[in-house]
């Protein structure tokens, strides 16, 4: 026995090698019988399964919880239970309230944890184990982009939830991905004129930006929009997602020479950064002879609840608000309120609508085959889902509809009455050329499960 001998030697190594070869050769043996289908996860039997992939933990957990409530409501309405919700107001409507194509809708849920890895693992589980025909949800653009490309590769349609980055339907767009929510570019275009009106054209802005795809594109879009007004940009600082404490980023703002702080944050991040900015006395401060202002380009009812008094008078944009006065919004708010006792957030609305739109497209296409469903969604014009007349543009799978400019209400009536609508920017004003963001959709051919 020599000194350097490793005890498990040639023989074991050979055996292991053989076992390795056997393992590589074995797969055909165990692969389940997926080859008879025309496309991945073709629904058999009398149910069709949707996958609701939402953040249940992490910085965007509040949004995720509301999204899940909306999806559960949508499933009820699709199956003909409850009061029918926006199925009563949607035009044109192919759904009959008996499920989709005669199959009852079932669902599975997953936690994205607002992490790309976890979200993809959860989506993969839904596709491979639970056999979902469509994945939807999410509250972060990083996650949306990651899950969208996964779904595209797997051949399963992805109906994005709350994602506001230009990249989702811009440079990272995919044929299998669809977005109802608006994007940062639209926010910039809608918000710009209102900012000029309220704060003048001679301002110096300081950006704090969540350091991922959404933050980057929102910073860029808002920067472009404000610089066109004549504003200067003093500095843009990136902050990690879910930082919790923003004081180290806010202290330098005070003496930077800026007179507007733009917070490109969302969810709990925005609640924390705004609260701390207010605690630092930024809103009482005078800079360059003008009153210091804070702008939050994207915010929601849920965030306003979290931020409390600090949100009062702050300008931003929103996709939808439950206080809109059209029939669809009223119907949806009533039905959501009856089920859960609170008005729906914009995250809830966009997710509800996405689920309904997918189901309707299947009904119109007469099949769950994704190629046909994609065709049915592309260029689809509809009304009565809360945002007025809306177009699902075929070129980039982005919805075009009204954008709301909102402001934190000074004297709210109750804890849900926190935002007032300042301006309703028509869809035509926020429509842009799809070519400006690049990217390509890729093939929409149906794929078999791998």
């Amino acid at each position: 026995m020599t000194k350097s001998k490793i005890i498990v030697s040639r023989r074991t190594l050979l055996k292991t090698g053989l076992a390795g070869v056997a393992t590589v050769a074995a797969p055909t043996f165990f692969i389940r019988d997926a080859w008879a289908d025309d496309f991945c996860n073709m629904p058999k039997g009398d149910t069709v399964t949707f996958g609701f992939n939402v953040p249940q933990t992490g910085a965007y957990a509040d949004e995720g919880a509301d999204e899940l409530r909306a999806y559960q409501l949508a499933v009820k309405h699709l199956n003909g239970e409850g009061d029918g919700g926006m199925l009563k107001t949607m035009k044109p409507l192919a759904l009959k309230g008996n499920g989709v194509l005669g199959k009852k809708v079932a669902y599975v849920t997953g936690d994205t944890q607002t992490k790309s890895d976890a979200a993809r693992a959860s989506a993969k589980r839904m596709i491979e184990k639970d056999g979902v025909v469509m994945v939807t949800g999410g509250s972060s653009s990083g996650v949306a982009v990651a899950v969208q490309s996964l779904c595209h590769d797997a051949g399963v349609i992805f109906m994005a939830g709350l994602t506001h980055s230009n990249d989702t339907t811009g440079k990272d767009k995919r044929a299998y991905g669809f977005r109802h929510f608006f994007n940062a570019y639209m926010s910039g275009v809608a918000l710009g004129p209102v900012l000029a009106e309220n704060y003048g054209k001679d301002r110096a802005a300081y950006h704090l930006t969540a350091d991922y795809t959404w933050g980057w594109t929102q910073e860029e879009s808002i920067k472009n929009a404000t610089e066109q007004l004549g504003w200067k940009t003093i500095k843009t600082v990136r902050t990690p997602l879910g930082a919790g404490d923003f004081s180290q980023y806010i202290t330098p703002v005070v003496n930077s020479g800026a007179d507007v702080l733009i917070l490109n944050h969302y969810g709990k991040d925005m609640i924390n950064s705004l609260t701390q900015a207010v605690q630092f006395g930024l809103r009482e401060k005078m800079a360059n002879g003008k009153k210091f202002e804070i702008v939050v380009p994207l915010f929601s009812e849920l965030m306003a609840q979290g931020a409390g008094d600090n949100i009062k008078g702050i300008l931003g944009t929103a996709n939808w608000d439950w206080k809109l006065t059209d029939d669809a919004t009223k119907t949806f708010t009533k039905s959501f309120g009856a089920a859960y006792g609170t008005p729906p957030s914009q995250a809830a609305q966009t997710c509800y609508v996405q689920a309904i739109l997918y189901a309707d497209a299947c009904e119109r296409a007469g099949t769950f085959n994704p190629t046909e469903v994609i065709k049915a969604l592309e260029g689809f014009e509809f009304d009565g889902l809360g945002n007025g007349k809306t177009l699902y543009r075929a070129a980039d799978h982005q919805c075009f509809k009204e954008v709301l400019v909102v402001k934190g209400k000074a004297n709210p009536k109750d804890k849900y009455d926190l935002l007032e609508i300042v301006k309703n920017v028509p869809a035509a004003d926020v429509t842009y050329d799809p070519a400006i963001f690049g990217g390509e959709l890729g093939s929409s051919a149906a794929k078999k499960c791998g």
């Binding site: 026995m1 000194k3 350097s4 001998k5 490793i6 005890i7 498990v8 023989r11 074991t12 190594l13 055996k15 292991t16 076992a19 390795g20 070869v21 056997a22 393992t23 590589v24 074995a26 797969p27 165990f30 692969i31 249940q56 933990t57 599975v108 849920t109 997953g110 936690d111 992490k115 790309s116 890895d117 993809r120 693992a121 959860s122 993969k124 589980r125 491979e128 184990k129 990083g142 982009v145 990651a146 490309s149 996964l150 590769d153 969540a210 350091d211 991922y212 795809t213 990136r238 990690p240 997602l241 390509e440 499960c449 791998g450």
Partner: protein, 407 residues
């Protein structure tokens, strides 16, 4: 000695068979789908590697996820710049993470115990923050590094290979083929770890764990051995990271976060530190909870328990629903507490007790192991005759002789 060898081969054989049959074995638990089994295999490799450091030497690294992350990034860059074949990616990832381990280990191993853990944790957080925001051009920050359509892939374009998703000479790395490739790597990695456990090198590492001071007093410089163990386990982590990137070509910084480092510590302790199979079992349990338990919602629970009488059904469902879905970490925490309190040696200690393997003293403290794996005991009793402290007395004897003649 013979006996040990035969038993090792049997163990390996069973392990390989289990890996091949895993889709069938896991199906009853709802875990028989490729993505989860791939995770079992990859985190199995990660934990097996971690165990070489923690289980054998007792040095608790709290920043091992760094090497996992570095391996992932290296692999994705290989997919972007070299080829979609996973071979260069895996080899590159192992080398790069080995280099990182060498640098971090060289500094951290100057201290032991809690100071070592803190140093590795500090390095890990540093690397995480670098990847998350400072080195965004290399890592693409929070969004994660992805393989894009228009990446150069110089080797592929030179030989005219098309395709954008990672493969092993044309075998796709998705679905079941992906699992079997990972499983084959796991079996090889496991075999290598058995070899290390049984080797004189492994014995030295155990000696370090048992009493490092005494080793020092006998003139044994333990640091090179520790550094080697650290680098090897770092390379295991890099291998796991590269496979993660191969089966899902996206590398995110969160892979390097301290929670990810903590996870592998939990896996190893839960399964049984210092045992051969323990870490693999531990990683399986944790990944199972994360993927299956977290997806179990109240409605499903209601249907599963529909056999209960109406009167208590709702109450039971309400109570139990706290522990599934979002509450999966609560259940995992409880399980972890039970294991730590009643089975400090991890799941493997439980298995040993059930099968009444002799020579299994109850483990007193967490992370400790009395080499309780089925075959470990005999190795310790039969140290190779020509190894370790043996030459020293001869030399001393010779010196003593010289001394006497001089007199």
């Amino acid at each position: 000695m013979r006996n040990t060898k035969v038993r090792d081969v049997i163990l390996l054989g069973c392990f390989a068979v289990a890996a091949v049959a895993a889709p069938l074995l896991a199906a009853p638990f709802g875990a028989g789908y490729p993505d989860l089994l791939v995770k079992f295999a990859i985190f199995g490799i990660f934990a097996v590697g971690f165990n070489i450091l923690f289980g054998l030497t007792g040095y608790l690294s709290f920043g091992h996820a760094v090497f996992l992350g570095v391996g992932s990034y290296a692999a994705v860059w290989s997919f972007k710049l070299v080829s979609v074949n996973i071979l260069p990616a895996v080899i590159g990832a192992i080398l790069v993470s080995g280099l990182f381990a060498l640098a971090i280990g060289y500094v951290s191993l100057r201290r032991s115990g809690i100071y070592f853990s803190i140093l590795t944790l500090a390095f890990a957080q540093m690397c995480y923050n670098l990847a998350y925001s400072v080195l965004t051009p290399i890592t693409n920050g929070e969004t994660g590094l992805r393989v894009l359509r228009d990446d150069p892939r110089y080797l592929d374009s030179a030989v005219g290979v098309l395709g954008q998703s990672p493969s092993l000479f044309g075998l796709p790395m998705t679905g079941w083929t992906g699992y079997y490739v990972c499983a084959a790597v796991l079996v090889v990695a496991f075999a290598f770890s058995v070899a290390i456990f049984r080797s004189p090198f492994g014995m030295t590492l155990r000696a370090i764990k048992t009493n490092q001071n005494r080793m020092g007093y006998t003139g044994f410089n333990s640091r090179p051995y520790l550094l080697t163990a650290f680098v090897i386990s770092g390379m295991y982590a890099g291998l796991a990271g590269s496979l993660m990137a191969a089966t899902d070509p996206l590398a995110g910084a969160e892979r390097m976060q301290w929670t990810a480092s903590g996870e592998v510590v939990l896996m190893t302790i839960l399964g049984g530190a210092g045992t051969l199979l323990g870490p693999v079992l531990g990683s399986g349990v944790i990944k199972y909870f994360e993927n299956i338990f977290s997806a179990y919602n109240e409605a499903q629970l209601g249907t599963t328990l529909s056999f209960l009488p109406e009167s208590i059904h709702d109450g039971v469902v309400k109570t139990l629903s706290l522990f599934v879905g979002e509450g999966w970490q609560l259940t995992l925490g409880l399980l972890f507490m039970v294991v730590v309190i009643f089975l400090p040696g991890g799941i493997m200690e439980g298995v040993m007790r059930v099968f009444r393997v002799k020579h299994t003293p109850p483990v007193k403290s967490l992370g400790d192991s009395a080499q309780r794996d089925i075959v470990g005991e005999s190795v310790i009793e039969e140290m190779p005759a020509d190894y370790g402290a043996h030459p020293a007395p001869e030399k001393a004897l010779a010196e003593a002789k010289i001394g006497t003649t001089a007199q």
